[in-house]
Symmetry: C2
Subunit: 333 residues, 2 copies
Amino acid sequence: MAVTLKDIAEKVGVTESTVSRVLNGIPKASEETRKEIFQVAADLGYKPNQIARSLVTKKTNTIGLIISDLANTYFARVASGIENIASKYEYSLIISTTGGQEKEELKYINLLKEKQVDGILFASGRMPESCRKLLRETEIPTVVVAREVEEDLPSVHINNVKESYKAVKYLINNGHQKIAMISGNANDKESGLYRIQGYKQALCDNNLEIKEELIVEGNFKLKSGIKAMEEILKKDDSITAVFAASDEMGVGAIKAVKKAGLKVPEDISVVGFDNNIISLASDPELTTISQPEEELGWRSMEMLYKVINGEELEEKKIYLSCELKKRASVRRL
Amino acid sequence: MAVTLKDIAEKVGVTESTVSRVLNGIPKASEETRKEIFQVAADLGYKPNQIARSLVTKKTNTIGLIISDLANTYFARVASGIENIASKYEYSLIISTTGGQEKEELKYINLLKEKQVDGILFASGRMPESCRKLLRETEIPTVVVAREVEEDLPSVHINNVKESYKAVKYLINNGHQKIAMISGNANDKESGLYRIQGYKQALCDNNLEIKEELIVEGNFKLKSGIKAMEEILKKDDSITAVFAASDEMGVGAIKAVKKAGLKVPEDISVVGFDNNIISLASDPELTTISQPEEELGWRSMEMLYKVINGEELEEKKIYLSCELKKRASVRRL
DNA sequence: CTGAAAGCGCTTACAG
DNA sequence: CTGAAAGCGCTTACAG
C-alpha cells in the first residue's frame, strides 16, 4: 500500500494536520517535529496523493490540450511548445486528438471537465458554435490556439492574410507578374481562405490581374501539390511564379516543374508556407514563410495561465508574425 | 457551483447511493426512479467528478507518456499512435517530454505516481538504472516503447540491427561493394550502435571489408548528413553507395553528392532510415527503411492495457518489422 | 429495490 | 505550535 499522511503521523506521534502543514511548508512547527516529519516522510518514500489533494483544493494542476492531430508536424510542434512551458508552470498536460471532428471536440471538452482540468487549450480546427456553448457552460478557462475566433475567447495566432501577402509581395518585388497559387480549401477559413485572400490582396494592390483559374486547390499534402502544379502548367505555361499555401505543396510544385522539363527557379519561382523541414530537403531549397509554432504554443499556455489565475490580459488576441525565409527557389526577373 | 450527486438526490427525493448506482448502471432500481434520475441529471447538466471517483476506485483512467521530444517527427508519430488507441480504451494521456534527460525522467515518474496514473509508457532514450529502480518501487505498470531494455519490463520496438542489415543487404544485392555509412553516435545503444552493427554484419556476411574510416558519425540531422558525406567523399571517392542511419542524414548525403558534382544514383546510391516525409521531398526520392511509428505506439498501449488489467502477455518483447521502401536513390550496378 | 454509514487521502478553518 | 473535526464528491459493502 502507498504510504499516507496518516502513516507518517502515527510514526512521528503527531496528527495528520500537522504533517500536512509541515510538508506543505505552512508556518512554524517546532524545528524538532519538522525535522522528524521530513525524515520519516523520506524514509517511507511518501508521495502525496494529488487526487485526494485536488478533491479538496479544487485544483488539479493539469490542463487539457484539444488538438487536431499529433502526427502532423505543425501541430506536434505547437504541442511541444505548450508542453515545455506548461511543465515550467508545473502543469501537466492531457492531450486529446480530434482529427478536427466536432463530435470528438465535444466529447473531450466534457471529459476534461469531468477530469476537472484547470484550463483548456483548443487547437483543433475552427471552433464550432456547439463547442463555444459547451465551453461557456462548463466555465473552464480556455485559450484558442492558431485559430482566429469571433468569440471573445482569448486566442493566439498568426495573421494568415498578412503573411500570405508578404510571400506574394516578395515575388512581385522580384519582378514576377504572372503568379499562380496552390491553395488549400476555401471553406477552411484559416489557412485555406485567408491565404487566398492574402494572395489576391497582394496582386490587387499591385495592379496585377487576378485570374481565378490560376488558383488551384490542393489539400496541403505533397502529392496534391504535384497535381495542382501540373494543372497550372497545362492551363497557362507563361506564369513565372507560384505561391503554395504549404511547404509540402510547394515541394510538390517544384517536383512537377522539374518533371515538366522546366527549372526552378530559372523558369518558375516557388514560395511555400510553414518552414517545415522539407523546405530544406527539397532541391532547390524552398523559400517560405516561417511559422512560429513553438511560440504559438508557449504564448497560448502563458495566456491560459493568466486567465486561470485571474490576471488581466493586456491583449485578448495575440498575433505573432512570421519570417520570410529567402532561399534558392525564387529568382529575380 | 458544479452540480453533484447530492443535488440530484435531493431533487428526486432519494439518496446519493441510489443516484450513484443508477447513473453507473448498477442493477435494478424501479424503472420510475431510474427515469427520473436520468431526467434530472440531464436537466441539471450533471457531470461526474472523476477526481472524487478516482479517489475511491483507485483508478484514474489516465496513463502517463514519458517521451523525449514532441517536436521530433518520429516521437510525435509514436505519441499519435498511442493517443489514438488510448482514447479507444477510454484512457486519457498525460504527456511529459524529457529531452532524454535522466533528471527529467525521474521527475516525471514521481509526478505521474502522485497523479495516480494507471500506467506509464516510457519512450525516452535508454532507460537508466535509476528510472528502473524508481519504477519498481512505485509499482506502476510500465511498458517501454522503441527501446530494447535488459530489464524484464515489457517492451515493443524494432530490431535496429536487423533492419539496418536489410538496408545494406539491399545495396549489396544491387551490386555495391564499397559502401560507406553515415551513423549516429555509437554511445546511443539504439539507433546509434545497433544500426552500425547491422551495417557491419551485412558487409561481413558478404565478405566485404569493413573500413572504420568509412563510418562517419552524424547526429541524425540534415546538416550533419551533408558534412559527413563531404568527409566521406574526401576520404574515398571510389565508394558507390552510402547507408545513412536517418532520412535527414540521407537527404543531406544526396545534397552533398550533388554539390560535389556527382549524381544520385548514377554515381552514388543512398539509402536512409525512417521513411520520414522528407525522403519523398528529396530529389531523387530516397530509398529507406520505413519505421512503423504509429504501430509502435498502439502496440505498446495495448500491451500496457493488458498489464494494467492483469492479463497474461504472450510475448514480453515485441519486435515489429520495417519495410524497405525502394525508390530512385539506388541504382543497380 | 433503497438507505445509512464508512471511507478514499487529503486540507483547512476553528479552537486552544 | 498543534488537535479535533468537518468536508471535498464520490463508491460500496452491509442491512433491511
